[in-house]
Amino acid sequence: MPNAKAFSIGDVTFDPAGDALVVFVKEDCPTCNDVMPLLAHWLRCELSIPLLVIGQTSDGNAALQARYDLEQPLLDDSSLAISFAWDIETVPTLVRTGSQARVLEGFVRDEWQALAADAGLPDYDYSTLPAWRPGCGSLSVDPQHYDRLRAEADGSPIRARKVDIGASDDEMEFLFDAGFTDGLPVVPPTPERVLRMLDGIDRDPQDIVACVPPNLADVTLEKIAINAVMAGCKPEYLPVVVAAVEAVCTDDFNIHGVMATTMGAAPVLVVNGPIRQRIGMNMGMGALGQGNRANATIGRAVRLVVRNIGGAVPGGTERSTLGSPLKFTMCFAEWEERSPWEPLHVERGFEPDDSVVTVFGMSSGPTYMVDQDSRSASQLAGSFGLCLKTAFHPRAHSATDTLIVVCPEHVDTLIRDGYSKADIRARIKEVSDARLGDLVEDDLSGVGLKRDKAAAIPEEKLDRIVPKFAEPEHIALVVAGSDAGKFSGAFHGWVRGPMGTIPVSKKINA
């Protein structure tokens, strides 16, 4: 419902407390053209109350002035700021302000005639006008303009610093030069796009979500939304990005260490629960690869937040020796419906209907575990164990963790023998356990227990078994991938534990 507000156009200053008539029109609206002869008649007469006719485009106002032979131009609201501030949805809209306030939207002849009589306007032959016309949509609610107007309006939730890019500047090049990108182009975060992004979550845009290292900068929802726009997210992905940012900024996950380590770790995001289908995530063919917008951009948005808000920039505090494609983005969904086991988030204490994102700090992967031959679960899980012996280094034991992505064909082999996740973990342990005495450095490799230290250890202690992964929960298992192909994958971790990183799950509030 329109709501009169004070405004100034040129030398006209309007006070909504006074008795006046204000009409909003648009040149290409047939109903507006139907009523223009009446408005032109009123504008030519001496009136007892002020009449302001406001047009919504400059060219259209000039055309209406010529077409209806007006002495004065219409008031120009081509910025649409007044139409937006007044909540005008339809043109024509006739508003009477002051003590006898009234609003007429569209054109109903009897209503206009009655209001004109009330206001003491001069007579007119109303039979020349149609009895009823619906009018058209106001330009201020046109999707082309609406988000810009929201961003520019007094009540806009936007607080971030605005950066003007010169007309002769290429905006994409500007964003590269400003250091805002990960090396790939980003979507320019205009206020309109950021507002649309913020529609994806029902929270105050100025809520602080987390403190992002290494700058230890507070990040608001608005700032996350800006980076989500740049990453290419849709608004409905925003709750996932927000939960993931919360997760990586915990002390357990330790995003500072994950980004700073020369080893080159990166966050790997696994999404569970009903939001997977709602936002169209890929959990099937090529789930860990390119091609799905949600998978690709959610992970990227998290990285851009860490880069732009946290200040983790390669060559600065991010000092990975080789880097990793994981550092661009790595996010996928678990194919819970294809899994015979509890999904990841339920294992980690959430309800099946909860939507949850879990973040892992991983240094490499997916490393394929190619086994097209094993026909029993113990053989296949044995293959997993053999492949995983190489995580970090075959002699690095109890140093890291792993996230295994079991492909559907391998799932079928494992469940044929009734293997649970615990059985898989036990078999991996059985195959990858090693005697301490077999983990001593030698001429083949300098990695391992140092020879002088080993020499000082009694023989029976060298028989001690050292697991590849210190705890069963250091082997995370999820299901994803296409129905064809016997190729599971494993991400190898970084330093697992309080000194390095611990996986973190956060519920997605969507």
Binding site: V163, A167, T190, A217, N227, H256
Partner: protein, 92 residues
């Protein structure tokens, strides 16, 4: 002209300046071990040399819990409160 919103934490976009260097070595000097292997070896030797070079200074030793995370705020404040200079042993 396109207007975009700043995606950063909006720190003033100027290069961070180094603190002014003191004219002489005096007061308390913090030696901070970030907990990387053999950082203590470097700092032991540095402590010895500083003691010979400037016998009047006080040397205070500190260690971060882990090199993988920023120093806890309490430790940073303690170092700042108790010292005029700090030397950090960065890596192995």
């Amino acid at each position: 002209m396109t207007t975009i919103l700043d995606p950063t934490d909006e720190r003033v976009p100027v290069a961070r300046q180094l603190s002014p260097r003191p004219a002489q070595l005096a007061g308390s000097v913090a030696l901070l071990d970030i907990a990387k292997p053999r950082g203590n070896v470097l700092l032991d030797r540095l402590s010895e040399r500083l003691g010979q070079l400037a016998p009047n200074i006080t040397i205070n030793r500190y260690t971060k819990p882990t090199f993988t995370k920023p120093a806890p705020i309490d430790l940073r404040q303690q170092i700042a409160a108790e010292n005029q200079l700090v030397v950090e042993a960065l890596a192995d």
